[in-house]
Amino acid sequence: MTAAGSAAAGSAAAGSAAAGSAVAAPSIELDAVSFAYPDGTRALSGVTLRIEPGESVAIVGQNGSGKSTLVRHLNGLLRPTTGRVLLDGRDVRLTHVARLAGLVGLAFQNPDRQLFAGRVSVEVAFGPRNLGLRGPALDERVRAALEEVGLTAEASTNPYDLGYSRRKLLALASVLAMRTPVLVLDEPTTGQDARGVALVRDVVSRAVGDGRTVIAISHDMRFVAESFRRVVVMREGRVVLDGSPEAVFGEAAWPELRAAYLEPPLPAVAGARLGLGTTPTEAELVAALRAR
């Protein structure tokens, strides 16, 4: 792409971003994606996956099973060794990174790989500023994102004066401020206390309610069962289970789940022991007990 083309793509992204969540979420398609790191470590082996606009998808699996590698293909941070990643049918290789940045927001697992500014507000403004926002529109983006993660009072703080858990919420706010139609969160609840987990849960349900696509990597099976409608289980770089929480946490799937070093959430285990069918969440277990 030429410099002029790149600028055009940038301003197109900015124009739509300024209009709020006007951009429709693209469909996401991974077509036989394989990826090996330069040292030869094979992280993905023939992953084929289609995610429709507005879906909420949790990706779970053992440490090192390829989850983070997978999501880094969605915004072009990594390019497949073989296979293709398509957004609305268009190969991400052919899509300029500026446009990808306006479509897919990715919050890293480790916030320290993402944060760099000397002030919380500057950190959060960086993304939307690069999308072309200025002045009151930019200020409003920053304010709304900080409010969503409960960091309003820290706007002038140096990010590194925040504890790890709040740095992680700040990294989340920086991505939220981009208002991308696709939100990708790499282990958003790790290191969070009960309030932090509740904040993250609300962020996800609001984004899903707004029609955005939310994809999150998590080891927290309660969060997964309660906040997502689809669960993708990875093992050794492959997708081994893909379905609703009821399907993936149902007793029939336990052997495959355990082979992926995962455990079903406690309500699912209790429901199965009590012969109540599949009850991945507390609410479903209580409802099944009542109906008995």
Binding site: D112, L262, E263
Partner: protein
């Protein structure tokens, strides 16, 4: 051993330049072979307490410490950093901070600490294999530490602390990035290490299910002070826990949800969630 244990009495701590104290009159006792869980909301002082117990605050990062921190009867203030490091090992919250960045294999990374203690080569090698086994990561030995997943890096960081064989271990969220199997692996390893080596372990953990499994006692902090403390089972079932920013264990939560819905609690239900 008379006076054995890691004992905090009336400990207060203020970071250099901070206007408010991060810790306020903390009393805590960690005995050899025991596991004490430390819980609390974000920024309630858990990580600061880890730094104080391990002597990094104020020893390395400055600030003002009040009260007394004694390891087996000796004030940590009177110890040099390398002496304290051998008595009390600290695992940071962010594994990437822990790794040296100077080694090209996981094996060398874990050998880094024992080598710096000047131990004989054979002893270093045997400790490294022991630590790799304890953390369940022997297959990672030849891998590049810079190319590990978040969870793998956390297990390597844990093994590198274990290889120093400290009498006391201070672990700041050792399972935060781990999958359920990795979490169980670390929990089992910590329980075994406490039992077999007699190490006293202080572990910060948001996953109260882990504390329910391995902790003898649990201490909950709020704004730098001890809000709750006592035997693990009783503390983790305390109705004030959630208001202190700590999610109760899954079994405790489930029992409450069932009872709150008006369904009668039964032995069959207790067994199903047990």
């Amino acid at each position: 051993m008379p006076g054995a244990g890691l004992v905090l009495a009336g400990v207060g701590y203020r970071y250099a330049g901070a206007s408010a104290a991060a810790l306020v009159s903390i009393d805590l006792r960690l005995e050899p072979g025991r596991v004490v869980g430390l819980a609390g909301a974000n920024e309630s002082g858990k990580s600061t307490l880890c730094l104080v117990v391990a002597g990094l605050a104020p020893g390395v990062i400055g600030g003002r410490l009040d009260g007394s921190v004694r390891v087996d009867g000796v004030e940590t203030k009177a110890m040099r950093p390398h002496e304290l490091a051998q008595r009390c090992g600290l695992l940071f919250q962010n594994a990437a901070t822990q790794l040296s960045g100077t080694t090209s294999t996981v094996f060398e990374e874990i050998a880094f600490g024992p080598c710096n203690l000047g131990l004989p080569g054979a002893e270093v090698v045997s400790r490294v294999w022991w630590a790799l086994r304890a953390a369940g990561i022997e297959p990672l030995a030849p891998r590049d530490p810079a190319r590990l997943s978040g969870g793998q890096a956390q297990l390597v960081a844990l093994a590198s602390v274990l290889a120093l064989r400290p009498g006391y271990l201070v672990l700041d969220e050792p399972t935060s990035e781990l999958d359920p199997a990795g979490t169980r692996l670390v929990a089992d390893a910590l329980a075994r290490i406490a039992r077999e080596t007699g190490a006293g372990i202080l572990v910060v953990e948001h996953k109260t299910d882990v504390l329910a499994q391995i902790a003898d006692e649990v201490v909950v902090l709020e704004r730098g002070a001890v809000a709750l403390s006592g035997p693990a089972a009783a503390t983790l079932a305390d109705p004030r826990l959630l208001a202190l920013g700590v999610e109760p264990p899954a079994a405790v939560r489930l029992e409450r949800a069932v009872r709150a819905s008006g369904i009668e609690w039964s032995q069959a239900l207790a067994e199903a969630i047990g």
